[in-house]
Every structure is written in C-alpha cells, then in structure tokens.
Symmetry: C2
Subunit: 215 residues, 2 copies
C-alpha cells in the first residue's frame, strides 16, 4: 500500500462499493458525508484532492457530483487487495513435527468419545497424533474460525475440563480435528484425532513433518 493514499482509503473504498468499481455514480457531498460519517466540507475537499491525485474523475453538476474511479484509483485498491491476499494466503495451513505421545491422549479420547462424536460427527480412533508447532502456528489455530467447544464434565472422583476442536484435513486426505484442552499441560503441542489411526494410515514417524489444513 502506498502510504500517501492512507487518508483517502476509507472514502475510496466507499466509492468503490458505490460504483461497483467501474461504474459512475451521481451523488452529492452531503450524501457521502452522511454515509461516511464526516462533514460535507471534508468530503468536498477530499474529493478534490483525490481528483488531483488522479484517483477519481469528478464532475460537478447542478444537483451534486458525478464520480468515477480512474484506473489509478482502482489500482490502489487492487494493490491493497493483493497485500491482503498475501497475508491470508496460508491462513488455513498448519505444519509441525510429529512427536511421540505419552499415551495420555488415548485415555482422554476414550473418555470424551461420545462428546466428540456429538460435536464433530465422527467416532474417533483411540489414539492421538501429537504435533509440535511453533508459537505463531499455535496462535493461528487458537484464533481460527470454526472452533468447536466440547464442554467439560464431572465424575465422582474428578473434573474434566473443556476441550476446543477445529475440523482439519490431515496430510491432505484424512478428515479429523485438532484438539486442545482448555488448560493444556504441554505447550506448543497439538493433538490430532480422526476416525482412523492417522499415524498408521499415513505411515508417519516421530520427527517427521506433517501438514494439516483447517476447515
């Protein structure tokens, strides 16, 4: 993004929406002021400046203003779009290193099995694939859309906390889920479950890399 256009981005985006990028719009500085929650004077000045910068074409009429985005104006938005695309491109891709589990996972999956089936609509294999990921990847997962929460429960003897899940394609083929306990004990390790034995099916070994895709 070219920083010189920063003060105009909000208005430019508004105009782009109004003109469907390529069209012409008959409007008035007052209408635009209302729509963008600023003053008629500010709109008038900004439109003049955007005209001077070559971002829009502007014709003053008796009843208002007719506006049109120029190729340059559209290009500013295209650039912005591309920058955003680049940012979110690898949005759903997760990569990490397979590590050996402690067998704990197996124990818990068994306990949560019915709840998992209810929330994620599959019957999990009783083993988890443990993947070590970096901080950024962990944050990516935690902030990802499509989070499913499995509520905790109590037995006579102890309390089991809630678990968060994200539906995931593992290794590009198996459909399963990443699960993270609300109060995780091991940092930077995610557990992945699926209806099948992932480790066996994908012939994975400790230390190897594996890709998942959030969905």
């Amino acid at each position: 993004m070219d920083e010189q256009y920063q003060p105009y981005l909000h208005l430019l985006l508004h105009l782009a929406k109004n003109t469907k990028l390529y069209g012409r719009r008959e409007t008035s500085t007052m209408k635009l002021a209302e729509e963008t929650k600023s003053s008629q004077q500010t709109i008038s000045r900004k439109l003049q400046e955007m005209d001077d910068l070559g971002l829009i074409e502007r014709k003053v009429t008796l009843t208002g203003i007719t506006l049109l985005l120029t190729a340059a104006g559209i290009h500013v938005l295209e650039d912005l779009h591309e920058e955003c695309e680049a940012l979110f491109e690898h949005q759903s891709s997760i990569e990490g290193e397979i590590i050996s589990g402690l067998g704990e996972g197996k124990y818990y999956v068994r306990l949560y099995r019915d709840r998992i089936q209810k929330s994620l609509h599959f019957r999990p294999f009783y083993g988890t694939l443990n993947i070590k990921v970096d901080d950024a990847t962990l944050r990516k997962i935690l902030l990802a859309k499509g989070k499913v929460t499995i509520e905790g429960f109590k037995t006579r003897n102890r309390t089991f906390g809630k678990v968060f899940c994200w539906k995931t394609a593992i290794g590009g083929s198996i459909t399963g889920a990443i699960i993270l306990p609300d109060r995780s004990t091991h940092k930077n390790v995610i557990e992945v479950i699926a209806p099948v034995n992932i480790r066996k099916k994908l012939k994975l070994e400790n230390g190897g890399k594996v890709q998942c895709r959030l969905k």
Copy 2:
C-alpha cells in the same frame, strides 16, 4: 473498514507482514520508522495508540520492542480483506445482451485472421457475436488485465487500425476472445470471436443474455 483505524492501516499492514499475522517480532521503533518511511517518534506514538486501541501487544525491552498482533488487530485486517474480496469478486464476469451484427465483423475477422491466430492462438470462425454491455462493463473490460494488442496494417487502398483482445470463456464453455477496435464505431457493443460459431453452438438468439468470463 472502521474509519477509526485508517491512520494505523499502513503500519498495521506492515506489522502483519513482518509477523506473518500470528508471530511475534522483536524490532525497534527506529527500524520500523525506516521501513515505513516515517519518524521514530511517530512510530513510537502510533504503536502506543495501537496498543491502547487493542490492535497490538507491545513489550518494551532493553534493545527495542517486541510486537504481536492481537485478535482485534488481525480482525481489522480480515475485515479489510473481505471488503476487497467483495469488490473484486465479480471482477472477471461480463454480461450483456446479444444483438444482431451487421455482417461487418465477418469481413474484418477474415482480414485479421492470421494476426488473430498468431496473437490468440486459435483460428477464428468468420463471424462475431455482438454483445451490448453497459458503460461499467465496458470500462471493466478496457481496464482488465491480459489485454492483447493486434497491431494495425495498411493495404494499398486503406489503413486498418489496431484491435485489442481479451481471452474469454463464453457461456462457461467456449474459449474465445472479446475484441474491441482501437477506434470503435458502435458504442457499448463488444464483439466476441471463437474457433467455432458461438451463436449456433450455444443456441443464442438476439435479445438473450450471455455471460463471459475474462481470463
């Protein structure tokens, strides 16, 4: 886009690129000032303000600053991304009404045939499909990427002008091209050519609508 974040967008985008959205970055106000072509003081102030707004997490260290985008900060960029997506969503789609040609097209395609084959890599059927489009659609085509120019030429008797072409899928199936003479005589009418007789193959009639997809 929320207009209150406008002054921070440039810096926020810069930080997003640096942190790959989810990561942490150790940097300094001076480095960021250089990278974004502003002053150390401005960066310092803006980072404080972005922290106050909850867009970033900021930790001052002995050697500089450690930065992290918050969920809110990422969300601002997600919103921006979605707005851009919406703008460019129908970017490549062209729609118009079929009108009867004057037989002129046929004459010209025959003359330009070899040049068309060389530039567009297909041998055109000797007839054009005439489509009436609105102003915005015409502008969309003219500003579209992938424009191919066929240079004009002279014969003993007269001069033939250059022609602009855009590769296009017609009706979702036929691959052809939209062609527009440099000096078009009929306004808002585009001509479409293909290796086959489009009108016959798609069973099109005058007055009907047809969709094309630029590519």
